[in-house]
Symmetry: C2
Subunit: 321 residues, 2 copies
């Protein structure tokens, strides 16, 4: 456990084989101080899940999916959004339930998306997907359980009941946004006469964007953000979410399966709408650059406390897997 982004020696080095033009390759490194809370979120989730009264085979399946290799982007965004808004002296561990709940939702969504009836993937982050490792029935049920545990965690580990209810609402909106985006992406359901570019926006702002938005907002809410701080964090999160997904699309067409740890080129194979498909690779990279600039600009009012969020934006813009 706790190998998120493989931090070991103070810096997390991420290979860059084709850096976007005008960007230094070195910018895809994440300082240890930024990546470290991922290990704390992992440890927190490990303890929490094991404390639940559930069959041992179910707990094992959940931990396999939850604590495997991964970026832990959502817990890190929650943690550092907390840090950007919280008054000095506040314990950042106060946002661990929110950070953990967002990772539970992310992990559940990967397990269900990998199922034979959906993306039918055998490989996830270089390991067998959960239904390959166990069974389809276990993958469905473990996903359902992780989704439910996210809400259970918030109600059991957030002391202030009013805050817990607000966090549950935020998480539900983020989760259903993600599900809506997945429906648009794979099953259609668009209303009105939308261009490919408009459809893309609708897919991506929901599918990846809404849970990243919830992660940042939930972290900020735990930190006691006032209205204007929460609005700034929300704008940052929306830019980050879109950027994250466009970079994902770019990696799918520019990287190899062995480098990504999951099947490359599958969006193209599936005939899916993607940014590089609609705008081209060059223009997509320009959009990433603009979103990166905007997201960093939004953080100005927070000064030095938002430095980790800036570094996360830098990393997200330049990651290669």
């Amino acid at each position: 456990m706790g190998t998120a982004m493989g931090q070991r020696h103070g810096k997390v080095v991420v290979e860059i084989d084709t850096p976007p033009s005008g960007q230094a390759a070195g910018s895809a490194e994440l300082p240890r101080s930024v990546a470290e809370p991922a290990g704390r979120a992992d440890a927190f989730l490990n303890e929490y899940v094991r404390s639940c009264e559930l069959p041992p085979n179910l707990i094992e399946a959940i931990l396999y999916s939850l604590l495997g290799p991964g970026k832990r982007a959502r817990p890190l965004l929650a943690w550092h959004s907390f840090a950007a808004v919280a008054l000095p002296g506040r314990d950042p561990a106060d946002c661990l339930p929110a950070a953990g709940a967002c990772e539970l939702i992310h992990a559940f969504s990967l397990v269900h998306d990998d199922l034979p009836g959906l993306d039918n993937d055998d490989l996830r982050r270089g390991r067998p997907t959960l239904h390959k490792k166990t069974s389809e029935a276990m993958a469905v049920l473990a996903g359902d359980c992780m989704l439910t545990l996210a809400f259970q965690l918030l109600t059991e580990r957030v002391r202030d009941a009013g805050l817990a209810a607000s966090l549950c609402r935020e998480l539900a909106l983020g989760t259903n946004g993600m599900i809506a985006g997945q429906v648009y992406d794979t099953l259609g359901g668009f209303t009105g006469d939308l261009s490919d570019s408009q459809k893309l926006q609708l897919i991506h702002r929901n599918k990846t964007g809404m849970l990243i938005r919830a992660s940042c907002r939930m972290g900020a809410m735990c930190g006691g953000a006032d209205r204007s701080a929460l609005e700034a964090i929300t704008r940052y999160a929306e830019d980050m979410g879109l950027m994250f997904q466009i970079v994902d699309d770019l990696l799918d067409v520019t990287q190899t399966t062995s480098h990504l740890g999951k099947k490359a080129g599958k969006d193209l194979d599936a005939g899916k709408l993607t940014y590089p498909g609609v705008l081209g690779v060059h223009e997509s990279r320009d959009v990433v650059r603009r979103l990166h600039e905007d997201s960093v600009g939004t953080l100005r009012p927070f000064g030095a406390r938002a430095e980790p969020l800036r570094q996360l934006a830098e990393y997200m813009a330049h990651r290669t897997r």
Copy 2:
């Protein structure tokens, strides 16, 4: 919509072909006043789901599963548990979010249980299961969405944030109990050396029992139940939950597919542990009778206000589908 238990002319008549010995056939009728809140829960859920910002094909899939024919046992238990404990003058509509959330969880669980990787059922309540009607992908995603909407509904429609957080916790425990029971039932995971009878208890108290328990407790919590009232309602609910499942098992071996509206005899085909399988049909019916008596005894302190809960117990003990 709103055809739960087919109430139309003041009484809901349910066929009894093989009444348990010593019970009058007439006791499987549910007075209109007891069944009526099912229609209100349906109308509430219809309005709520349509108000959510979701793709129209997803909303359609959800409403197909949520408002199809069904007993609406959980909303009725929530509603009448509220009525048993609430002070006079309290509006029972206050428990509609809790009643609706429990039905959302029940409906999601049926959709996922019917999937090819789990029970692989083509028929549910006389209609095609959701994955047959739409696609496996839609059934997985619509189930996930209903599960999430249950929590979203509680946080959006329960005014008191402290109560909303308590209801979310109760619902999460009920849902994960149900999932744990399904894992025990279909995938094992028992620890220690349990007899078949002990395994059965563990399966049933979780699989059906925990969500019925949550339904009653959530209704009572909305009604402002004090500690002792909540404990009495909990005991009633636990008896009801077990009784409900034993009757389900009995129906599976004693009824036909066309009568049940779902495949009969499938527990036997699947080699599952069931009460009639372990105890025999006669002894299982004795357990139902004892649970029925106990559940009704627990309601004594509530007097006349618990009459609908008594009638529900009567109906549950004698239902034939």
